[in-house]
Amino acid sequence: MADQIEAIFAGFGGQGVLFAGKVMAYAGLIAGREVSWLPSYGPEMRGGTANCSVTLADEPIGSPLVLHPNVLVAMNQPSFDKFLPEVRADGLIIYDDTLIAPASAPSKARIFGISATKMAEEADLGGLSNMVLMGALWEKARFCAEGDLIGAVDECVSASRQALVEKNKRAMMLGMEAARLI
């Protein structure tokens, strides 16, 4: 994986793409890297789709807006179709194949379909397909130590909702295991 990660998390509003991006950014912070997180908040968000740009770097970050990602996490078909052509040749694509029809990656990018929605529902973790994909992404990209990623979940979920912390972590573990097999 390239040293500098420029990621886009994209899907429908409510699927947790902004949250997943925040977990990645927090993991980068814990790992001592420069990080930025920029949500879409404009008209497209009012239309029901949401995305965020996350950059992890070792130099101060200039533009936080990611246009040509080397990591794409896609949670719905419109986002997948929109951002797939923008992924760089050395990029990595993780998508939810419960909701998105398989496609081949542009050039030499690595692409992995994970049945995140199905897996989350079967494990009684409905609504946490975002974290299943997050786990799969970490398994394939290893953008920080595992402990940093776990710590990021603790930071991003308020302490008063401890049950949710554990569920998020379980969903992430499911994603990691699934990604190890493909």
Partner: protein, 358 residues
């Protein structure tokens, strides 16, 4: 708490204001600034302060006037169209020598414009925050850390010079998250006293009067002259600017706030191609870092802004014909890419080489 945390720019401003001893916030919701007010609504009551959502922007700024007159640290925030509504009150604050912090998380204009990031209120912030003969310090953060640090500074500058102060941010900086270390909180009770404030004295002294109305022309004249003497002092002591790789630069980009981040990426990319590029980033937009512009040894300047070209006028004034100056910008909420800015640098560099080769 000096731990590094991940925060939105809007929230960082709010938290820093609380730590600077601000206990009075008057707001009215507007995208892309709303998280700032929401954060205040959540946190202010826990500190025993006042969060008040006013019935309009105009009401909010006049509440700021009132709180400032009573001598407390107070803030209001909005985004471009809302700031326009506040400008009458800001002019009154300037005329009454009242300190207060006004945050503008800019969006595209004119009119209702867009809700996307923009820097199209530069003219307004530096020239026309209301009617009358006045200026006010304008801070332009470029990172979430600066959103916090400059908020702290803004309260200090406001109190020191008894002037309203503007923090000019934009939708990108307001919405994005970055790691930030918050300044240490200060207890508002430990702030220097404001003997001019109207806070009751039980007959112990003469009345303090806070007012911007002078029917006697001579008195208003003297008031303005005195205030402009303060402005000279601010120009001397409060200018802030950052230069990046300018020492040997042939082409220097002048950019502030969000545009400066994009420009910085473009400067690094240009250097990788062997083009000597640099960045001059004003942190105070008023007073403008004119001396830093004059001190450049560049062959050309490029002003990059998220508007149709506003700060370029201050760059031209400062440069006074010493350099060729061109403009590159996007407006309406479109964020230029580092590649576009790089193309502009390359274009100017090639033109320069052609010129030298002739």
């Amino acid at each position: 708490m000096t731990r590094k945390v991940l925060m939105k720019g809007n929230e960082a401003i709010a938290e820093a204001a609380l730590r600077a001893g601000c206990r009075h916030f008057f707001g009215y919701p507007i995208t892309p600034q709303t998280e700032l007010a929401a954060y205040m609504a959540r946190k202010m009551p826990k500190l025993g302060g006042t969060y008040l959502q006013a019935e309009s922007e105009i009401a909010a700024v006049n509440m700021l006037y009132g709180a400032a007159a009573a001598g407390v640290r107070a803030m209001t925030s909005s985004s471009s169209p809302g700031i326009s509504l506040k400008t009458e009150g800001i002019s009154y604050m300037a005329g009454a020598d009242l300190p207060g912090v006004i945050v503008n998380v800019q969006r595209g204009g004119p009119g209702l414009g867009s809700i996307q990031p923009s820097q199209s209120d530069y003219f307004q912030a530096t020239r026309a925050m209301g009617h009358g003969d006045f200026y006010l310090p304008v801070f332009a953060p470029s990172t979430v850390q600066e959103m916090a640090d400059l908020t702290f500074t803004a309260f200090n500058v406001a109190d020191e010079y008894r002037t309203p102060v503007v923090i000019l941010a934009d939708g990108m900086l307001g919405q994005m998250m970055e790691p930030v270390i918050m300044p240490e909180a200060i207890d508002p009770a430990t702030l220097p006293p404001k003997p001019w404030a109207t806070r009751g004295h039980e007959g112990a002294r003469a009345h303090n009067i806070i007012n911007s109305l002078h029917l006697d022309a001579q008195k208003l004249y003297e008031d303005n002259v005195r205030r402009f003497a303060t402005y000279e002092q601010i120009k001397r002591d409060e200018v802030r600017v950052e230069t990046y790789r300018t020492e040997d630069a042939d082409i220097v980009i002048c950019a502030f706030g969000a545009a400066a981040r994009i420009a910085r990426s473009a400067v690094n990319a240009a250097r990788e191609r062997g083009i000597k590029a640099g960045l001059l980033r004003p942190i105070t937009l008023w007073p403008y870092p004119a001396d830093a512009v004059k001190a450049l040894h560049a062959k050309a300047l490029v002003v990059v802004e998220l508007n149709m070209g506003q700060m370029i006028e201050d760059v031209r004034l400062a440069a006074d014909g010493a350099f060729p100056i061109s403009f590159f910008g996007r407006c309406g909420g479109i964020i230029p890419t580092p590649d576009e800015v790089l193309d502009e640098i390359v274009r100017i560099h090639e033109a320069m080489e052609d010129e030298e080769g002739r």
